[in-house]
Symmetry: C2
Subunit: 286 residues, 2 copies
């Protein structure tokens, strides 16, 4: 068995789905969870997602082979500090945070001598839903998991975390922290910002009731991610602030150019932007 004892801190959509996938694959023995809300933790037991729980992080990580932190980015630092002294010298630590620079900085600051066994990770999978009730074993199948190990990261730790994610059906790739944060700002964090901002714009218009009544399928798809957890996305927005504001500036330039073209009736520029976008988007579905 790959993992005798797995501790998952934060059993929501990601933590819960990971536990389900590893149990289904027969890849781990006992799954122990840690969280603050005992009714959520009991629900995770009732659903068969975890075997038991402990609300004290230091107790929860004792004798774990792997500890996975699947908590909001703003909670990573205190959690690293809370578990450090309870970690055994062999325990491998990883996370599922959507931005990597801040998590690595937090880990470096708080994990002490355990830092070389911390493998920063990010499964590129999710839905707009939250909580263990929304978790499912297939979430990571054929999805990518990005690991951003440092030079000092233990190669055996990287290998075990890679194998863990592969057991869920995911494809694991390595990337630099900076590159990860740039790519995710562009493909995930900025779209969430735009979706939240668009829905909030419409929600504060006078005829908002009418507006939402006539929203068709395109609008529903476009804004689905605005149903995501505000706390989680607040943390991501601040954690990846620099990369996010950089790609937002590029987007603002493009949108201003498009608005100017529409205002002036500059058909060529409008057609160019729409056609380049369609060509790029069509390739995604090939």
């Amino acid at each position: 068995m790959l993992i005798q004892r797995l501790t998952i801190i934060g059993v929501g959509l990601i933590g819960g789905s990971l536990a389900r996938a590893l149990k289904r694959a027969g890849a781990c023995g006992e799954v122990l969870a840690c969280g603050r809300n005992t009714s959520h933790l009991q629900q995770a037991i009732d659903l068969g997602v975890i075997d038991r729980y402990d609300t004290h992080p230091a107790n929860a990580v004792k004798n774990a082979d792997i500890v996975v932190l699947a908590v909001p980015l703003g909670t990573m630092a205190p959690m690293f500090a809370a578990i450090r002294d309870a970690l055994s010298p062999q325990t491998i630590i990883t996370d599922a945070g959507s931005a990597k620079a801040t998590v690595v900085a937090d880990a470096r600051q708080h994990l002490g001598q355990h830092f070389p066994r911390f493998v920063p990770g990010h499964p590129i999978a999710g839905t707009e839903k939250s909580g263990v009730a929304a978790s499912f074993a297939e979430l990571f199948e054929n999805h990518r998991v990005i690991l951003t190990p440092l030079e000092e990261t233990d190669s055996q730790a990287v290998s075990l975390v890679t194998q863990m994610w592969e057991k869920t059906g995911a494809n694991v790739v390595n990337m630099s922290i900076e590159h990860h944060d740039e790519v995710l700002a562009a493909t995930s964090h900025l779209p969430h910002l735009l979706a939240y901002s668009l829905v909030d714009t419409l929600a504060t218009m006078d005829d908002r009731t009418e507006i939402f009544k006539f929203a068709a399928g395109g609008f529903r798809d476009f804004t689905r991610i605005a149903s995501s957890d505000p706390r989680m996305w607040h943390d991501i927005s601040l954690a990846n602030r620099d990369a996010l504001l950089k790609v937002l500036a590029l987007f603002n330039d493009n949108l201003a150019q498009l608005a100017k073209a529409i205002s002036k009736g500059d058909s060529q520029t409008i057609q160019n932007i729409f056609t380049r976008a369609k060509t790029a988007r069509d390739q995604l579905t090939l």
Copy 2:
């Protein structure tokens, strides 16, 4: 039978789906199509969507009970001019354009004495795909169709067009032209602009290949509408320019406020925007 002879000008996704739905409902006799591309028209015959075609608009509309214009908005004016003298005094004309002020102005200018029998219409349905091959009879089921008749519009004409759309399974509502154009700018035209602009922004970044490689489900949903027909959306952007630029300005204000909050680390404003948006978006799925 509701309609003995139906002429559809422009047999793409919308025109083709309307023909299919009315045939399925046994609501019309002969479906005659008009278009410029004979291979597309032949495809529509081969698929059983239409009965025959004529590439000359004036020939195609002769003796029709209803003529439906399902062509790009920029083509409406010349098409009204091309059919005017061939329309019989009983023929009812309607359209499926996504913006109504310009179509009504075009019809008023070019339809002459037939203008009172023109019923401006807009089915709030579609996909990011184009062409008759993408058409299907169920497209309008449980979707809304907005009609924006004027005071001078013949009430029998409105009644027949209403019945026609109801035969497709759609719910027909009436609205003022101005209100239609504002609501659609907010729920459809602006989202398309943002999706096109975001994809174009990423498509012109240095690491675009990597970026699109790591695009997950959220990004795919968010940008699906950027695969829509550039020509059609070029026309919509210009036809509904005023309402579109107005709601875009509101969006830009909201996004700038959010960007400023992220830049300053103003958690409360970020949380407020995200939470208001989630609340509004969640209500859409109830």
